[in-house]
């Protein structure tokens, strides 16, 4: 058992709860830093993808996890970021390092524009409206050929910085690692800032938040803008990673994939975003491992991967609504209180009735 005696409020706000956790994170960082030296290209590439998904998941978590707004259209922001980078670097000859923040800004601007009408909408209406928005952006990508080249797509090269070229996977890995660490750090600080707490207050009760002097309009639009910035930035990193972007990369399924990442990882937590991104990136790998166990006839079926994907999503919502991070917390709790753990501590409280109609 481990007890933490807190003597002041500042201790509650520390970035690392224990000194040992700082050590663990530094060890993880050191491991990630030397990772490309011994791992194959395949693993490095997938880690980069997981890194980009982590940034998206962090952004989506700020909107959905912290502020409680559903978005089924985040692939649109991702696309805006990717195409802004692609357009600026290939057609206007702008440097990648300027194009990248601009990609985030462009997405944030659109996010702001989407956020304003979204003020009037809640719950399911917001989900449908953001989905409609994503479909419209999809069509714009197809039609605005001057910027996007339509179905032909854009070929985006990896960036260079002075004499250093990030052309190889190993080199570009460090760019992504840097930004992932940066965004995690920003999010972790944001979560503990007054603005971040205002976001969480809005999620838990809009009316209560308003009575405390929080402006709903401001919080919701900022949440959309910040979330879009993260996603756009990730899109900007994604374009040079796969070298080629076309309309297929940003379909409605990608939006759903982003939400699945945060659900599987754990909604409303930084750890969850990372866990979810890694899990979903390596899902096909995990499925392949599982396939050996199953009969051969099943392995050859076309929709197998999709079926597993759908099942995982449903299973997490049914059995583990707090995601992988929730499971990790439970396991940690078990060890922390070791002899006193009771099985019912985390039992899901069954609810029998919920209504948002007041009639």
């Amino acid at each position: 058992m481990r007890f933490k005696l807190k003597k002041s409020y500042v201790e509650d706000l520390r970035l690392f709860e224990y000194r040992s956790s700082l050590m663990w994170y530094l060890a993880l960082l050191a491991f990630l830093a030397v990772f490309p030296f011994f791992a194959g290209t395949y693993w490095v590439y997938n880690f980069m993808l997981a890194g980009i998904y982590s940034i998206v998941a962090l952004g989506l978590n700020i909107l959905t996890g912290y502020t409680g707004q559903i978005s089924l259209g985040h692939a649109a922001f991702y696309a805006i970021g990717a195409y802004t980078t692609g357009f600026l670097t290939t057609k206007l000859g702008c440097t990648f390092w300027l194009a990248l923040p601009l990609a985030g800004m462009a997405a944030a601007l659109i996010g702001l524009i989407v956020g304003i009408p979204a003020l009037r909408l809640t719950g399911i209406y917001l989900a449908i409206a953001t989905m409609g928005f994503a479909f419209i952006i999809d069509q714009v990508i197809l039609e605005w050929k001057y910027v996007t080249n339509g179905t032909n797509g854009l070929i985006v090269d990896r960036p260079t910085l002075g004499p250093i070229s990030f052309n190889s996977d190993q080199a570009y890995y460090y760019v992504i690692l840097l930004f992932v660490v940066l965004f995690v750090w920003i999010t972790k600080n944001f979560e503990r800032s007054p603005t971040g707490r205002a976001f969480i207050a809005v999620r838990d009760s809009e009316v209560a938040a308003q009575t405390m002097g929080i402006s709903l309009a401001k919080v919701k639009t900022t949440a959309f803008a910040i979330s879009a910035f993260y996603t756009g930035f990730a899109g900007g990193l994604f374009a040079p990673l796969i070298n080629f972007i076309g309309p297929d990369n940003f379909s409605i399924m990608e939006s759903i994939n982003f939400i699945v990442i945060i659900i599987v990882g754990g909604i409303g937590s930084v750890h969850g975003s990372i866990f979810g991104a890694i899990f979903m990136t390596f899902l096909s790998e995990i499925i392949r491992l599982g396939k050996d166990v199953l009969p051969e006839a099943m392995q050859r079926m076309v929709g197998f991967q999709g079926a597993v994907y759908g099942l995982i999503l449903m299973a997490f919502i049914l059995f583990e609504p707090l995601g992988l991070y929730g499971r990790w917390l439970k396991i940690r709790f078990l060890f922390e209180v070791f002899p006193l753990y009771r099985r019912d501590t985390f039992r899901k409280k069954r609810k029998f009735y919920r209504s948002e109609r007041s009639r």
Partner: protein, 288 residues
């Protein structure tokens, strides 16, 4: 040309209306938005196709059986899965039904392969000429079946005990529970009815489009219809579906070609900005 587009828009609108009706029925009673409604429709079409080409049953018996099978499917789904999710937040429910739709689509791909199928038409290619407008008999069938279904549902909700119980549940679940209505049974039946309506929509859509495992994506286009009519209003779903079907077809004529595909969503966003409660909707106030 103009009238011709209206005629075919009407038939397409009826299919949207039927899918939207499926959303609305479930949403009204259980406050769940079923994103898998389009996949229910797809399953209905595939079941009908199998019965017709595999078992070689006559057309009307096929329709009847397919609708019944989907009804049982809806019931089982509600009993086994959806009932465990009562009281969960909206976000979880939305994502659950999306997961369900992905799952059903994959399963359909496994069972019926990913090929495109053509539904054998029973009425052949006969056309009726009214003035300058040519209407295929299939379109007439679509419109008349939709109309008949709406009348049946209207009578059901107005005059049968279970229908009135459903209406009561959708107005106030807790109060109707206290009045002795079995809310569980109402939920169960409403999922069955919704799946049956989806099956009808699937069978009607099959000759217009083709049968494919991804045909359920058209269900996403029925959302604008449901929202336009006011989510939770049965006449609203029908009117919304017709408006979306008509305006989409007319947009294809008068506006650049690419607008047609997203016109439904443009309407959707416009409606949500101006009048989020839709045409027939009642503004729902959130409880503190």
């Amino acid at each position: 040309m103009f009238l011709q587009q209206i005629a075919s828009g009407l038939a397409l609108g009826c299919v949207y209306a039927l899918i939207a009706l499926g959303f609305v029925l479930i949403y009204k009673a259980t406050e769940v938005v079923n994103f898998a409604q389009g996949e229910f429709m797809m399953l209905g079409a595939f079941v009908a196709l199998s019965l017709m080409t595999g078992a070689k049953l006559p057309f009307f018996l096929t329709i009847f059986l397919a609708v019944m099978i989907m009804g049982v499917f809806g019931m089982v789904l509600e009993r086994m899965v959806m009932r465990r999710l009562v009281g969960e937040p909206i976000f979880a429910l939305v994502m659950f039904t999306i997961g369900l739709s992905i799952f059903l689509r994959s399963i359909a791909g496994m069972v019926w392969s990913t090929d495109t199928f053509k539904f054998p038409t029973v009425f052949g290619k006969s056309f009726t000429q009214i003035g300058s407008v040519t209407i295929s008999s299939m379109d007439i069938l679509v419109v008349s079946i939709t109309a008949a279904l709406v009348i049946i549902l209207y009578l059901f909700f107005k005059f049968t005990d279970i229908g009135i119980a459903m209406e009561a549940t959708s107005q106030n679940q807790f109060a109707s529970f206290l009045m002795g209505i079995s809310v569980e049974r109402v939920f169960n039946l409403i999922w069955a009815i919704s799946a049956m309506v989806a099956a009808v929509a699937g069978i009607l859509l099959a000759p217009i489009l083709f049968i494919h495992k991804d045909m359920g994506f058209i269900g996403l286009k029925a959302f604008p219809a449901a929202v336009l009519g006011g989510f939770g209003s049965i006449p609203g779903a029908i009117v919304g579906g017709l408006i979306i079907g008509l305006s989409e077809n007319l947009a294809g004529v008068f506006l650049p070609a690419w607008v047609k595909d997203v016109f439904a969503y443009i309407i959707l966003i416009a409606v949500l900005m101006v009048r989020p409660e839709g045409i027939f909707g009642i503004q729902e106030k959130k409880r503190v």
